[in-house]
């Protein structure tokens, strides 16, 4: 059974502070959507609202055709994986996994059988009689996963599930989570502050800031076509250069940057600027430092070695910019250079 999750105009407060403002979000059946943002952006609040630990001030939350908004948490039928795993320390792995089935009145033999089956599925055969205190971080994470999956919930939710694991295990576990989610067909809401994690695991990602969704889209969309300066900065556009369109020259737009320098942006490659004043967003990879050519004049500053390129801090009329240059031709700090924007690594944003 796969169902969709819909949040409509959800607003939430902690005391007098508004932490979520008219948030709307729709997850198609079977889809995995991540809420991505820094701490305090409202992503965990959103998850806790869906789980029922918090009640919205206004708005509705529906799962399939069920209105969850006023249901107590225990009646929502959602599989939730906590950041802390929240395993019951006084219960064995098997009893932890069987906990949800027990609440549903499943007979003892049946629930132990199903728990055992799930324990094997997450690769923990032989650990059923251990207590959580005697498991490693990765094993606890698997128990938490098994415990949420065994109740066969139409919606799975993950609250920063991998943040307590070391880097290598994190990569393994996110593949595992994706695989299990696909296999069960459950719709999933995934909360994280780690961009790489969100992009690698999700069908779509919602980037959140100050209680609102800044942009919702596929990882590819967010990466190459950020909707605004916040998202661009978040997904790693190091340079945001203020620009003003000053003239049209055939199929190019001439734009002026602070300091008066003008560059031509061919429409066929760059598209139209979103407004007269706009921002040119460029990753360091998208500003190629070269000794000469058509681009932004710069004086090179500190050089650092990245392995695939050299990176330069550059002094330009538009302020300090970060640009990369080829390994084959290192340039000295203090020398003059031009920074050439590479359209496929750049984007135009509303100011």
């Amino acid at each position: 059974m796969t169902v969709s999750l819909t949040l409509s105009d959800v607003t939430a407060h902690y005391g007098q502070t508004r932490v979520l403002e008219d948030l709307s979000l729709h997850l198609a059946a079977g889809e995995l959507v991540s809420l991505l943002g820094a701490s305090g952006c409202g992503k965990t609040t959103t998850l806790r609202l869906v789980a029922g630990f918090l009640t919205p001030t206004s708005g509705t939350i529906t799962l399939g055709d069920r209105d969850l908004t006023r249901l107590p948490p225990h009646a929502r039928d959602i599989g939730l994986v906590f950041q802390t795993y929240a395993l019951f320390p006084h219960l064995t792995v098997a009893d932890n996994v069987a906990f949800g089935l027990k609440q549903r009145g499943v007979s003892k033999a049946e629930r132990l059988r199903r728990a055992q089956e799930m324990i094997e599925r997450v690769g923990l055969s032989g650990f059923a009689d251990r207590y959580p205190a005697n498991l490693s971080g990765g094993q606890r994470q698997r128990v938490a996963l098994a415990r949420a999956l065994v109740i066969d919930p139409p919606l799975l939710m993950f609250d920063e599930p991998l943040s307590n694991l070391d880097a290598k295990l994190r990569v393994d576990m996110r593949v595992e989570i994706r695989r299990l989610q696909r296999a069960t067909g459950a719709t999933a809401l995934y909360v994280t502050h780690d961009q790489e994690e969100a992009f690698s695991i999700s069908d779509r990602v919602a980037i959140m800031n100050a209680g609102r969704i800044e942009q919702l889209g596929t990882p590819e969309e967010l990466y190459s076509r950020p909707a605004n300066a916040f998202v661009a900065d978040f997904v790693g556009y190091e340079n945001l250069i203020p620009m003003r369109a000053v003239a049209e020259a055939g199929d190019a737009v001439r734009a002026q940057m602070p300091g008066g320098h003008e560059i031509a942006l061919p429409r066929a490659i760059w598209g139209d600027p979103p407004s007269r004043d706009f921002l040119l967003g460029a990753r360091a990879d998208g500003l190629r430092a070269a000794p000469s050519g058509e681009g932004i004049p710069a004086t090179l500053g500190l050089r650092t070695y990245l392995g695939r390129a050299y990176q330069y801090r550059c002094d330009t009329p538009a302020g300090e910019l970060v640009a990369n240059g080829p390994l084959s031709a290192p340039m000295d700090s203090g020398s003059a250079a031009v920074l050439v924007p590479e359209p496929e690594q750049c984007c135009l944003l509303p100011a």
Binding site: P72, P73, H74, G79, F82, F88, P89, H90, F99
Partner: protein, 275 residues
Amino acid sequence: MTARTLAWALAMPALLLVLLGLGLPVLATFATTFTGGEGPLAAYAEFFTSRFRRVVLWRTFEVAAVTTLISLVFGFAAAWVVAKSPARLKSWLIIAAVFPLLTGVVVRSFAWLVILGRGGIVNETLLALGAIAEPLSMLYTQGSVIVAMVYLFVPLMILTLVGVLESIPEDLTDAAASLGARPGAAFRQVVLPMAVPGLIVGSVLVFTGSFTSYATPQLLGGEQQMMMGTFLYQRAMVTFDWTGASTIAAVMVVVTLATVLAMSRLAQRLNPVAS
């Protein structure tokens, strides 16, 4: 000077205080119980064959057990609410529990003399309401001792349990709810088992405290409701029967230590995780 010598030199003065001030005198008291009577165990034989002494022992046991049970129920309920309260309210509630705890036993027992006495508030109120014609005699009953004892020990129970309940992560009850556990089920299956060590510590403190109390049974129980503490004092200071008093002391120590040991065993059995 080696670290070992220095460590012992620093630890020694306090150790001597305990050994000479507490160890030797208490051992001497134990010794009296074996040497003071006709034969080695005569003092104990006398203690346990005397109907009066058995009644006192049983009464003390009963009062301590009932006090523990009542404190446990009310203390747990209050501690749960305190632990779940928002920070500011919580600190006020903790102040409200600490205040009586740090106020002396005499003062706190005295309050119940004022409340339960013949001219006390309860009687005055009932008389004014016409519910009774004659003042009730509530003092010097087992009930009055128990009420005052509960009053004495509920704050201790609350403070012990607040600490324990606060250490149970909220995520665990949230997890139970997300897995479909109703509040009652989550309480029984998650909170209660995890609170067991705290419940046991609280119970031990209250039980041993009420079993060995003196001032409260003296003021509210008097001669009629003699308990082990008041009985020990009476034997020692009124009848100067030091062998008898020593025997009472020994029985108190044995009961106290046995309770502590039995309960910590129980705590270990109920909590396999700790081992």
